[in-house]
């Protein structure tokens, strides 16, 4: 069975989604992964968007969280401030299973940069900025999507847009945030990384078929423990069929 790295990523993201639970999703691969999950093992997963548009089932891939396609099958189209309260209250009550985030740089503790490369005050590259990411990282467990490159997986990142585990154990409490929430997984084109319960540092949980822990270490700018790593199951033919022919037939994202 042939599949591209992006398609494997979408499948890995879908596997993080559990049936019946609520997730905050952005556009791009997370939405493709979540839509794939809804069309396979998790038909009752609920998708929440930072625009306060809730629980839609987009029949075509939306290009933004405000896209009209997000409204299809939705329960409410709330004014945007309602998302703010819902996010903080219902994440604390454990009713939001997680939020999906992307970034340009990540450190070993899952702190994320989506703001600027180089000095914040005279950036080499200005990136998109926080959008809703900072709020999601403040209140919720998170799943992070990254390109796996040495310069992106850095011991020290140029700007912390969205806090992960802060500077390690106790880091979130020090910042005034709920220490029980934080980054849970990082999905790249090479595999799935998770965070050690004690040290809060990133380790390799899974490597995708055709990859290896060594290859992941070579593409990571800090030491990353590979002793617990195992090879991921390749996507089944059925799941790939749903992904390619139903979820994103126009290949907008995959």
């Amino acid at each position: 069975m042939e599949f591209t790295p992006n398609q494997m990523m979408a499948v890995a993201l879908a596997r993080l989604v559990e049936d019946g639970k609520a997730y905050i999703v952005g556009t791009g691969l997370p939405l493709v992964g979540a839509t794939l999950a809804k069309n396979t093992h998790a038909p009752n997963a609920r998708l929440i968007f930072e625009t306060a548009l809730f629980e839609g089932s987009p029949p075509e891939v939306p290009t933004s969280v405000s896209d009209l396609r997000v409204n299809y099958g939705a329960t409410v189209l709330w004014p945007q401030y309602r998302y703010f309260g819902f996010q903080s209250i219902y994440a604390a009550r454990g009713l939001i299973a997680g939020g999906f985030l992307g970034g340009a740089q990540i450190d070993p503790y899952g702190n994320l940069n989506s703001t600027s490369i180089g000095s914040y005050f005279s950036p080499e590259t200005r990136l998109s900025g926080s959008g809703g990411a900072n709020g999601i990282a403040t209140y919720c467990d998170t799943f992070i999507i990254m390109k796996h490159e040495k310069r992106r997986f850095a011991e020290k990142i140029d700007y912390v847009t969205s806090i992960g585990w802060g500077d390690g154990p106790g880091g979130r409490s020090k910042a005034g945030l709920d220490p029980s929430k934080g980054p849970r997984a990082v999905v790249t084109e090479m595999g799935v990384m998770r965070f050690d319960g004690k040290s809060k540092r990133m380790y390799i949980a899974e490597y995708f078929p055709g990859r290896s822990p060594q290859e992941i270490q070579n593409s990571t700018g800090f030491f990353i423990d590979g002793s617990r790593a195992f090879e991921s199951e390749p996507p089944s033919a059925d799941v790939l069929d749903v992904l390619l022919n139903q979820v994103d037939p126009m290949r907008l994202m995959i």
Partner: protein, 322 residues
């Protein structure tokens, strides 16, 4: 607030009457959905200068104002034509070269700051931004802010929660918006307007701003819009100008009416790479065309009617998007 039917005017009249150089402006909609482009194009035509943009979920319209030299300060959390331009290019260039003063918040913080402004509150206490560089680095320093009375004089203040001393809070000042620009599906001459579908931050900025200018797909009589007040979004007491502008949100979407214009957004993505190509684009679609009506006839009925949504889906099914 202006009297009764005297509020109906062209976008040109509304901008020249209510928007001054140096004003703080906020715009409705969300990235590629229901952005008030008819007003953005008019601001460019009139060559307004020194504007301070309260961005929120901002996009190509604000990028166009930056590229056209209308802007000196911006506070935003995101500037993108999502799906077409991930970081708007004139914005990016202006920040990288220091051509505008810029500061970052997170989107939900700006959302709640606009809501706080609409509630008449001086600040809102949040947990957001704590532990991140949004709470360490000020894109616009206190000294720079002191020179600009329209800006909040501090980006934030961190305090213990007085009711729960163990807990830290980030206090965010609410902005003082001079002019809010909003595109609605329906409005009436007294300024009452009705947004169908997602409201985003529009009602908050419309209530908070000193002047609110509304463009609408349909202009209906006052007694008509009052037959269903339960569907209305905002009283005309908050509104100064009503502009009848079908397709006023083009090239972005408008719930119940039309989808985004993908080829336009793609053309803008390419053109905004350099100042020279951007200038040509703005000449072609904005300055050369004197009114909204000229803009629409230049685009042509065929192009616009191809964007009409399919009622059953709420968007244009199978729209070419790449």
């Amino acid at each position: 607030m202006t009297q009764g039917c005297l509020k109906v005017m062209t976008a040109g009249q509304a901008i020249s009457r209510f928007l001054q150089d140096g004003d703080c402006i906020a715009m409705g909609g969300f990235v590629t959905n229901r952005r008030p482009y008819v007003f953005a194009r008019e601001i460019v035509r009139q060559g307004k200068r020194g504007l301070y943009l309260e961005g929120g979920p901002s996009a190509g319209d604000m990028d166009m104002l930056i590229g056209a030299g209308c802007v000196s300060v911006m506070i935003a959390s995101y500037v993108a034509n999502s799906g077409y331009t991930q970081v708007c290019r004139r914005f990016r260039h202006a920040v990288e070269t220091g051509a505008i003063l810029f500061d970052d918040y997170s989107l939900d913080v700006q959302t709640i700051a606009y809501h706080g402004a609409a509630l008449g509150l001086p600040y809102v206490p949040v947990k957001n931004m704590l532990g991140s560089d949004l709470c360490n680095l000020w894109g616009i320093s206190e000294e720079e802010r002191a020179k600009r009375p329209k800006l909040p004089q501090k980006k934030f203040v961190i305090r213990e929660d007085p009711f729960n001393p163990e807990s830290l809070l980030c206090l965010i000042p609410t902005p003082k918006i001079d002019v809010a620009l909003v595109h609605a599906q329906i409005a009436s001459p007294d300024g009452t307007f009705r947004i169908a579908g997602p409201q985003f931050q529009d009602l908050d900025i419309a209530i908070a701003a000193k002047h609110t200018l509304v463009s609408c797909e349909e202009l209906v009589p006052d007694d008509e819009i009052r037959k269903n007040p339960e569907l209305n979004t905002c009283t005309g007491l908050c509104v100064d100008a009503v502009v009848h502008a079908p397709y006023g949100a083009h090239p972005t979407q408008c719930f119940g009416k039309y989808d985004y214009d993908s080829s336009f957004l793609t053309e803008y993505d390419r053109a905004s790479r350099t100042q020279g190509e951007f200038d040509q684009f703005v000449c072609k679609y904005v300055t050369r065309l004197k009114t909204h009506e000229e803009y629409l006839s230049f685009l042509g009925e065929n192009r616009l009617s191809n964007l009409r949504i399919d009622e059953e889906y709420g968007f244009r099914r199978g729209l070419k998007r790449k």
